[in-house]
Symmetry: C2
Subunit: 273 residues, 2 copies
């Protein structure tokens, strides 16, 4: 099954565009879990158990696990084993290198770890992304417009009147022969998101930047979804993981995720009926 | 000591601009080493012992080690322990993410592994690179023009008449407050290299793409060096690592590295006296 069909299947089955970012910071894990053998893994287990019926995807930023050294590597592997089949699992790695090297990254992310999807940087062009696209079942979200302040440094520079990110979007649309390409567009740039959805009506768009980063949720859904109200993947990390810093953190995460899914669905109902 | 001073010290002490890329492919390790406990580590040890007086730097592409899973992670750590102090060790990772995430990558590369330098992708702008630059002793080579065919997709697009990569070079020059920024410019693009050296006369430039990728060595040195004939870091990987596929591989690597250093120095002598 092509990646886009896997994504649509879970978005409709769980009636959810929500993606929970499992970017677990060891310093923010409740004290009671600190005694367990692997606090990060235990925290992730509780969050996954509390939220898996509410999401279409989990996103794990590889950096958070790499920073913990080989223990983090193992926690990442074991966390992936806990996620129920059918849910999209995004290894947020933003890799990109010459062809034979990107192939190594694809092997690590898709074969060694078994992620359903990853994120990639477009700067090195087609042959740096191509190795991620050979397996139609695995998705790749290419960075178009990111949610951080530095997005303006290069992504918005204009080439013959159109910003760099539009050139990226047009290229990615052409690379989508296996129906497994997507884009990353930050919720902090609603005008760019609207323009990108118009240029790429049928690509999945991963949308970080709501919550802690201040992006507007309503415009993210309204402008990021397809005409049918799907294909947007709305990521939230800190607001869910740390909804409570006490022992009720999993219940609090479930409440927060449930509220966010419902809020998203209300907006979908309003605009896409 | 700021990164640029560390680089200049070793370039002058070893009289070498050569960087050996330790991108070890397990499939290409001679049969006799396959029996050892950790063939990749043993191969790297022999290459380092045979070449360390001839180089200014080693570059390890993290992808090659990640693709081997946690064993590769360990081989990477243990390889770094074998490199004599004073030689620059570049963790070629091409990372870049929002600020708090890039900080995680910087921690992993500079603190956990202890690399002297890394490579970073510019697409996400200043705050995605800044966390790599806080420690003046650690260098960061930002991708400007890469050696692969896809470099033309975005890097050469013109904004008000000047290609995107020039905008990157100008920004990086401004980010160089701690004297620890550098650039990556592929040897396959000599005209761009010449232009970039003119724009950034005092930044280190890491130059991949000679040898297997077909870049011209003479123009790489002539256009990539500073006015004093230093600051270019000329990378060669496969031509040195696999100079022989037999038991004499380390001797063959030394011969090849020695020849390449001398060839580089002859060009330096000719153009920079």
């Amino acid at each position: 099954m092509a990646f886009i069909d896997t994504l649509l299947e879970i978005q409709h089955r769980h009636n959810s565009l929500l993606c929970v970012g499992l970017d677990t910071d060891p310093a923010r894990i409740p004290v009671s879990l600190q005694k367990s053998e692997d606090p990060v893994l235990e925290f992730n287990r509780r969050i996954i158990e509390a939220t898996s019926d509410l999401v279409c995807a989990y996103k794990l930023n590889v950096a958070f696990y790499e920073a913990m050294g080989s223990e983090g590597w193992q926690a990442l592997h074991r966390t992936l084993d806990l996620i129920p089949k059918g849910i999209v699992v995004i290894g947020d790695a933003k890799r990109g290198d010459i062809g034979n090297t990107s192939q190594m990254y694809a092997k690590s992310l898709f074969e060694d770890f078994g992620f359903t999807a990853t994120t990639a940087s477009p700067y090195m062009g087609e042959d740096s992304v191509a190795p991620f696209l050979t397996d139609a079942e695995r998705g790749t979200f290419v960075l178009a417009v990111t949610s951080n302040p530095g997005a303006k440094d290069f992504q918005h520079l204009r080439i013959n009147g159109t910003p760099l990110y539009e050139h990226v979007v047009k290229k990615v649309s052409r690379w989508n022969k296996n129906r497994n390409c997507g884009l990353v567009v930050g919720a902090t740039r609603p005008a760019a998101l609207k323009r990108i959805r118009a240029l790429a009506p049928s690509l999945p768009i991963l949308i970080p930047g709501i919550g802690a980063q201040g992006g507007d949720l309503t415009s993210a859904i309204r402008h990021g979804s397809s005409a049918k109200g799907d294909l947007a993947v709305i990521n939230a990390s800190r607001s869910i993981l740390y909804a409570s810093n006490k022992d009720d953190f999993a219940d609090a995460a479930r409440k927060e995720a449930s509220l966010l899914r419902d809020t998203i669905n209300n907006v979908r109902e309003k605009y896409f009926g």
